[in-house]
């Protein structure tokens, strides 16, 4: 009989919280997070963000674009998204921004000042109807204009599901290439925020990743969000752009002021390593960063490679497969429930491509297979402890 590996907590001697440093609860949402055994956790302490001029100069993505020395401005992710929207409206007179409450700046303030700057014909409130917003956006895009729609929370995108999945995604295909909704970008805040409960916390990316014709993008930082959003708006396919709302204010970087685009469908290697490949996207990367720091502290000599997928559909199989062929091990993590989550797709494809190189089963650290529970958020999320335990189980297999 093949061995069935059930989740376990073997190797109890390694405990990422030592007995002397267990006071207090730390999470990525806690800005005053206490260090765990000397490691400072959370977005505010992350080495993944380019907060200084040197950091910007060393930013690989900006180097590739040749703009690592251009002038920058300190922005949080909300401001960098606002900046991308402003640039797209300045450079494309056919671009319009619309959705619920966007006119006064939006409930998260991502569309602030756009109505004043570009007028009520180009940035406006719609009635409260997500199916209407998506359908309207498809019409705008099909007429050759640029539609940038906001769905106020990803949890509320489902009335628009039919329009997005059956209409936006399939218009080019069903019309023999004569029409398309390629000019449509739907932005929506998603993922956990610490107090959102069932209907302000969901990560619906896997539903859309199952839809040929759509592009699904999830940014992790201000610099990346600006480049990916400008890319999404100018892309010739309908894009669902899911913004981790917990990062709107907590993630701050020096963002190039110029107009730049980052490629879609490309993953980014955030940290090179040789023993295990760890894949994530959005705010989960900051949890993975901390889990990796703890693993490398507890298992000297072990190095982990961290990859940010950036685009969920179409995803960068090549970069992940190359990495796993090097390390022989893979752990994937996302907040969405485990069953039929996007990690399942990555695991299936990588087990196929890297079968002879794999030295352990592929690990998945995901949200529980339950709705998102308000007071049980810390038990639901793939937090530092869970990621640490899974990476450990995979490297010690």
């Amino acid at each position: 009989m093949p061995k069935v590996a059930a989740p376990s907590l073997q190797g109890m001697k390694h405990n990422f919280l030592s007995a002397t440093a267990t006071r207090g609860y730390s999470s990525i949402y806690d800005h005053s997070a206490e260090p765990i055994n000397g490691i400072k956790v959370g977005v505010a302490n992350s080495a993944l963000l380019s907060r200084t001029i040197t950091g910007v100069k060393n930013n690989k993505q900006l180097q590739d674009l040749g703009i690592a020395s251009s002038s920058t401005k300190k922005m949080n992710m909300c401001q960098s998204i606002n900046d991308a929207l402003k640039i797209s409206m300045e450079t494309d007179p056919k671009a319009i921004v619309f959705g619920e409450d966007v006119s006064f700046g939006g409930v998260f303030r991502c569309t602030v000042d756009l109505a004043e700057k570009f007028g009520p014909d180009r940035c406006f409130n719609t009635p409260l109807t997500e199916q209407g917003i998506a359908g309207f956006g498809i019409g705008v895009a099909a007429a050759g204009h640029t539609a940038i729609a906001e769905i106020q929370f990803a949890d509320y995108i489902f009335p628009a599901f039919d329009q997005i999945v059956n209409e936006a995604a399939k218009m080019r295909y069903r019309s023999g290439g004569e029409f398309s909704a390629g000019g449509l970008t739907i932005r929506s805040p998603s993922m956990a925020v610490g107090h959102g409960g069932i209907y302000h916390s969901q990560s619906p990316e896997a539903y859309f990743s199952h839809t040929p014709g759509l592009v699904v993008v999830i940014p992790r930082s201000p610099i990346q969000a600006k480049g990916l959003l400008l890319s999404s708006i100018r892309n010739k396919n309908p894009v669902v752009f899911l913004e981790p709302k917990v990062l709107y204010r907590s993630a701050v970087e020096l963002v190039p002021e110029c107009d730049y685009v980052l490629p879609l469908g490309k993953a980014e290697i955030l940290k090179a390593g040789s023993d295990v490949t760890v894949v994530g996207y959005g705010s989960q990367l900051y949890v993975l960063e901390n889990a990796i720091q703890l693993i490398e502290r507890d298992f000297p000599g072990t190095t982990c490679e961290l990859i940010d997928l950036q685009t969920i559909l179409p995803w960068d199989v090549e970069t992940v497969a190359q990495s796993v062929n090097k390390t022989g091990r893979l752990v994937i993590s996302h907040e969405a429930p485990k069953t039929s989550g996007f990690a399942a797709e990555i695991a299936a494809e990588i087990s196929n491509r890297c079968f002879t190189r794999l030295e352990s089963p592929i690990g998945r650290v995901c949200g529980a297979d339950t709705p998102f529970p308000l007071v049980f958020e810390r038990f639901y999320l793939p937090d530092i402890a869970r990621c640490y335990e899974e990476i450990k189980a995979v490297i010690k297999y």
Partner: protein
């Protein structure tokens, strides 16, 4: 519902009927025939039509009442529901509270027309007049039950407070507008003036009631806040009628993890 029950829900403690899964003010009560509130907008409206249809089939002279705001009435579900209630002859009362704003969006940006078709009997009332609300609801119920037909009530009012604790409405409306409404047309002071004029209420009744109610609310709030959260296994129950093997496995793993890192997971905040 008692103040205590409402506070227990608000604080997601282990006595709350929602088992800590939803945000505050998402009430429900099986004993009061009140479905649990869901955050997505307007989803309850077609459901109310289905419920009313089932009541008609039971022949027990019952009806369903469904509450929503003028913002929710823009959702597709609202239009589907009104059409279905009319074509299927469902004894349902749609109570639309038109308070002028859907978060920041004024109702003038929500609708251009006036009056809704679908062959549903409709009445627009002064939603700040408690007697108008009572009389129209009573009349609507009689009509819905005796004719097995839907009724739509549009109650005109104004949202004096912010949309939520995370909203600052001064970003999209003037303080003066809010002050005017709360002084000029306040449903609570209008009712007070009426009952004072009738000799049913006095300023001393008013001040003692204020003290009494305030202390009851504060006590319920403090009590509810002190209570522990529900047991962590409640995260996994009610997803299905019974735990699936995969949920059992996930629950067991979480228990082991919580036992290993009790402080990290603050397990003392939860009942065991």
């Amino acid at each position: 519902m008692s103040i205590e029950e409402m506070m227990n829900q608000c604080f997601s403690n282990h006595l709350g009927h929602g088992k800590g899964r939803q945000m505050p003010v998402h009430y429900g009560s099986k004993s009061l025939n009140m479905y649990t509130i869901s955050s997505p907008l307007a989803t309850q409206i077609p459901q109310a039509v289905g419920s009313a249809y089932a009541q008609r089939r039971e022949g027990k002279k019952k009806c369903t009442v469904c509450f929503f705001g003028e913002g929710a009435a823009s959702e597709g579900d609202f239009h589907a529901a009104l059409n279905m209630s009319s074509t299927l002859s469902a004894p349902v009362i749609f109570y639309c509270r038109n308070n002028g704003y859907a978060i920041s969006t004024p109702s003038t940006e929500q609708y251009k027309g006036d009056g809704i078709g679908y062959g549903v009997e409709t009445i627009r009332i002064d939603g700040n007049d408690v007697w108008a609300v009572y009389a129209s609801m009573k009349k609507a119920r009689d009509y819905a039950v005796s004719n097995s037909r839907p009724v739509l009530i549009e109650a005109m009012t104004y949202r004096v407070s912010h949309h939520s604790t995370s909203d600052d409405s001064s970003a999209y409306r003037s303080k003066k507008e809010v002050e005017d409404w709360s002084t000029r047309d306040n449903p609570i002071s209008r009712l007070r003036k009426y009952i004072e004029k009738k000799g049913w209420w006095s300023s001393s009744d008013e001040s003692s009631a204020k003290i009494e109610i305030k202390s009851a609310v504060l006590k319920a709030l403090t009590d509810a806040e002190m209570l522990k959260k529900p047991e962590f296994k409640e995260m996994y129950t009610d997803v299905y009628d019974e735990l699936t093997p995969s949920l059992k496995e996930q629950m067991d793993f979480t228990r082991k993890l919580a036992d290993k890192y009790p402080d990290y997971y603050r397990i003392n905040d939860f009942t065991r």
